[in-house]
C-alpha cells in the first residue's frame, strides 16, 4: 500500500502528513462512534468525492473493493437476521421486514439491516480514507513522521529499505518462476495440496537468495557508514503551513463535537 504514491498538484497532496493523519483519525473515530448508517454514508460519499478530485487512479480502489462484494452481502444478511428487534432503541429499527422461516421465526429486522449497512460503510471508509492518504503522500513523509514521533531512525530505515526491495523481490520471484516453468513445472496448478507443493521449487531458491542478499546488504550498509553516528541528517523536513493548522484545528473540533454527540445518543439505532 505504502508505495502507491501518485504525484499530483491537488490540495490534499499539498497538506502535511500530520494534518492528513489527524483527519484520518477523526474520520475513523467518527465512523466507529455512530451506528446510524446516515453518518457513515455521508462519510463514504464525501471521501469518494475527494478521491475523485485528487487525480489518482480509481481503478486501484475498485480492485480492492470488488472481491469484497460477496462479503458485504453476507454481512448484510447476517446482521439483519441475527440482531433481534429488542436490541434497538429507535422505533424504525424494530420494524420487521420478513421472516426467514415459517412460524415467525428468524425475523429480518430493519435495525439489523441498518447496522449491516454501517459495517459495510465502515469498510468503505477505511479503504477510501487510507487510499487517499497513501496516494497523496510520499513515503518519505511517513518516515519523517515516524522520526518526529521519536521512533529510532533504524526503524524508519528498515521500512524504507523494505519498500525499496518490494520490486526487487517481485522480480526475483518472477525470474525463479520462469526458470522452474522452463523445466516443465506447473506452478499453482492442480488440487490444493498439489498447488501448494508446486511452490516449493520457487520458495527455496527465494529463501536462499534472500539470505545471501541480506549478508550483502549488511556489508553495503556498513560500507556506506550506517551507524557511524547516533542519528542521521534529515534531507527534507516536513512543514506545517497555515492551511494545515486551520484544517487540523477544524478536524479536532469536529472530532470533539462528534464524540459529544455520540455520547448523547445521537446517531444510535
Amino acid at each position: 500500500m505504502l508505495i502507491e504514491y501518485y504525484p499530483s498538484e491537488s490540495v490534499i497532496h499539498k497538506l502535511d502528513v500530520r494534518t492528513k493523519s489527524i483527519c484520518f483519525i477523526t474520520i475513523t473515530v467518527i465512523s466507529f462512534s455512530f451506528f446510524s448508517p446516515l453518518v457513515n454514508l455521508f462519510l463514504v460519499l464525501s471521501l469518494w468525492i475527494i478521491l475523485r478530485n485528487i487525480n489518482t487512479p480509481l481503478a486501484r480502489v475498485k480492485q480492492i473493493i470488488r472481491p469484497l462484494m460477496p462479503v458485504f452481502i453476507i454481512m448484510l444478511l447476517i446482521t439483519g437476521l441475527t440482531y433481534s428487534p429488542e436490541k434497538f432503541q429507535m422505533k424504525i429499527s424494530k420494524e420487521i421486514l420478513f421472516y426467514l422461516l415459517p412460524n415467525k421465526s428468524l425475523p429480518f429486522c430493519l435495525g439489523g439491516l441498518f447496522y449491516g449497512i454501517t459495517l459495510v460503510c465502515r469498510i468503505f471508509v477505511m479503504v477510501l480514507a487510507s487510499s487517499i492518504i497513501t496516494f497523496s503522500t510520499p513515503i518519505e513523509d511517513f518516515l519523517q513522521l515516524m522520526k518526529k514521533m521519536k521512533l529510532p531512525y533504524q526503524m524508519a530505515f528498515i521500512i524504507a529499505t523494505g519498500i525499496r526491495f518490494i520490486p526487487t523481490m517481485q522480480k526475483k520471484s518472477e525470474m525463479i518462476q520462469e526458470a522452474q516453468r522452463a523445466r516443465g513445472s506447473q506452478i499453482g496448478q492442480g488440487g490444493i495440496i498439489k498447488s501448494i507443493k508446486s511452490y516449493i521449487p520457487v520458495l527455496i531458491p527465494m529463501i536462499v537468495d534472500s539470505l545471501r542478499m541480506s549478508d550483502n546488504l549488511a556489508i553495503a550498509m556498513l560500507s556506506r557508514g550506517f551507524g557511524a553516528m547516533k542519528t542521521t541528517t534529515d534531507l527534507d523536513e516536513i512543514k506545517m503551513h497555515k492551511c494545515d493548522y486551520i484544517i487540523s484545528l477544524l478536524s479536532l473540533l469536529i472530532l470533539i463535537a462528534a464524540l459529544r454527540a455520540s455520547s448523547q445518543n445521537i446517531g444510535a439505532l
Partner: protein, 600 residues
Amino acid sequence: MITKSPIITQSPVLTKPERGSVIVEVDHYKYSNAVADTLKGLNFSISKGEFIGLMGRTGAGKTTSLMLLNGLIPHFFEGDFKGKVLANTMNTQRYRIQTLARFIGLVMQDTETQIFGITVEKDVAFGPSNLRYGKEKIHELVGKSLKAVGLSGYEKRITTELSGGEKQRLTIAGVLAMEPEILVLDEPTSELDPEGRLEIYKLLSSLRKENEVTIIISGHDSEEMLQFTDKILVLEHGSICWQGKPGELFSDVKLTESFGIRPTEVSEIRDHLSSNGQKENLPVCNSIDQLVEYISQSYCFKPSSNLALNSTAIKNSSQSDRPVVIKAVDLNFLYTSSKSALRNINLEIHKGEFVALIGKNGAGKTTFSKHLNGLLRPSFGDVFINGRNIKTVSTSELSKEVGYVFQNPDHQIFSSTLWDEVEYGLKNLGISENDRKTRVMEALKFVGLEELKERHPFTLGKGERQKLAVATILAMETEILVIDEPTTGQDWEGTKRMMTMMEKLHKRGHTILAITHNMRLAAEYANRVIVFANGQIVLDGPPEEVFYEQEKLQKASVTPPESAIIGNRLRSYGLEDFPVTISALVDQLCQKSHGEINVN
C-alpha cells in the same frame, strides 16, 4: 624484452604510509567456517593515486583481499586473522568499519543490495547523511557525485527502474559522495554489457585524474585492465603471485594463461604469429594500433587491385537444407500498450544451427528467447516451434522441445542433492523411473558432475552450479537449447569450459541459441550471429559477414571481436578474407607471408 619469470614479491613494503596509500601485510586469514586459509602471506602496497587491477582465478581470494581494506575483515567477517592492514594510514583493526568507510569506499558486485534509496538522489545521500553532514553539503556532494558518474538529471528517478549500467554507476556515486581517498571495486562490471563495462573503466580513469583517488578494481576484463590500470596484482591461493605493469603481463601469453587470466586477443595473435616461426623478433604489441601497424609493415601485401572479388570470400555456411525448427512471423511484443520490446521479428532457424544472439542489454535478445518456450506470448504475430504455433501450447508442453538454461543457476536450484535437482524436470515430464535414472546419469556425466551426485548443490562453486543448471535442462533431452549468458561472471577457465561444453552439445546435434556479450564465443563457435537493437534484428548472418558490418554494429553498440577489427583494418592493406577468429587471422597472415595467396 619480456620478463618470463613471475616476479614474486614478498619483499618489504616500500610505500610509506600516507593518505590514499594501502599497505597490506597479512600472515593469514581464515573464514570462521572454512577449513583452509583464504589468504596466506598476502603482502602488497599501493601508493596514493594509483589505478590498480586485481586479477586471478575465481576463488583466489580477490574479494577477501578487498574486504580487508575497509575493515570488513576482521570486523564483519570474524575469523582467524593475523596481520596488519594500513589503509589511508589507518590501522583497519583499530577503527570501526563505518569510520573507515569515510575514507575507503567499497563497491561490490551485486548492485541490487547496494541501493537503499527509493530515488537516485536519496540513495546517493545515504552515505553522507549517515555521517551527519549538513544539508547544504549533502546536496552539493550528491550533485557532484552524480555529475562525476554521468547521472546528472537523474536525481528524482526511481532506483528500481534504472538499467544495469546506470545502477552500477549509481553505486559508485553513492560511495563517491562520502569523498573517499581510496575507491575499492569488486568485479563491478561482471553484470554489464561491453559498452557499460568500458564506461565504468573510463569513469574510474577520469575520477583518478580529477580527484586523485586511489583506485583498486578486481575483475576479468583483460582488455580494459591493460588499457586503464597502472599496475596489476595477480592473486593465487591467497597471496600475490605476480605484480607489475599490465603491458608486461599481457604481452606474455603463457604467463597470463598460467594465472588463469584471459590473454587479450591482440597478444594472442602476436603470440601465434611468433610461435608459427613467422617472425622471430616480434615487438611487444599491446594495442590494436600497434599490431596493425606492425603487420602492415612486416607482411608484404600486394596493393589490392581486385576488391570486387573479395566479397565472394565469405563462407556460405547456410544450413537452409535442414528442416526449420524455429520460425517467427511478424513477432511483436509489447510490455505495456505503448512500450514495445520486440518489433516485427521475422526469422527461421534450422535444425543443428549454433546461433549467437548479441546486442546491448535491453535490445530484446532475452525477450525474443522467452517466446520460444512460451514464457512470453507474442502481442502480435506468431512463433512456430517444429511447425507448431506456440499460441496453443503451454510452457510445460514446450519444455519438452525447448530447453532454457537461465543465467543465474541459483534461481532454479532447490533440491538437496544434485541427483534430485536433475530429476525434477523429468518428473514434471512424467518420465518413468527407469528412464529417469539413465537420463539423470547421462546428463550428470556429460557435464562432469556424476561423482558429486549425492552432494548438496549449494556446496558447489558457482561454475559447477552453472554446469548443474545445464545438466537439469540436458536431461530433458530437448532438441533446441537456449542458453542465456553462459559465461557471465565466470573467470577465463570457467568460460572456456562452458564454451567447450556448448560445442560438444552442438556436435551432439542440438540446435543452440546462445545469448551472449562474449564476442569471441560468437565468432569462434556460432555459425550464425543475430544482432538485436531496440527490439529489432539489425544483422543476421554468418560471423564473417556480421562482424564486418562496422557501421551497423556501431549503431547497435556492438564491438566486434578484435580479430575482426584487425582484419578489417588490414583490408586496406590488401587482406582479402574476413577473419573473425584468432586462428583464421593468423592463418591468413601466414599464407600471406609465404606468398601463397591465390589472387583468383
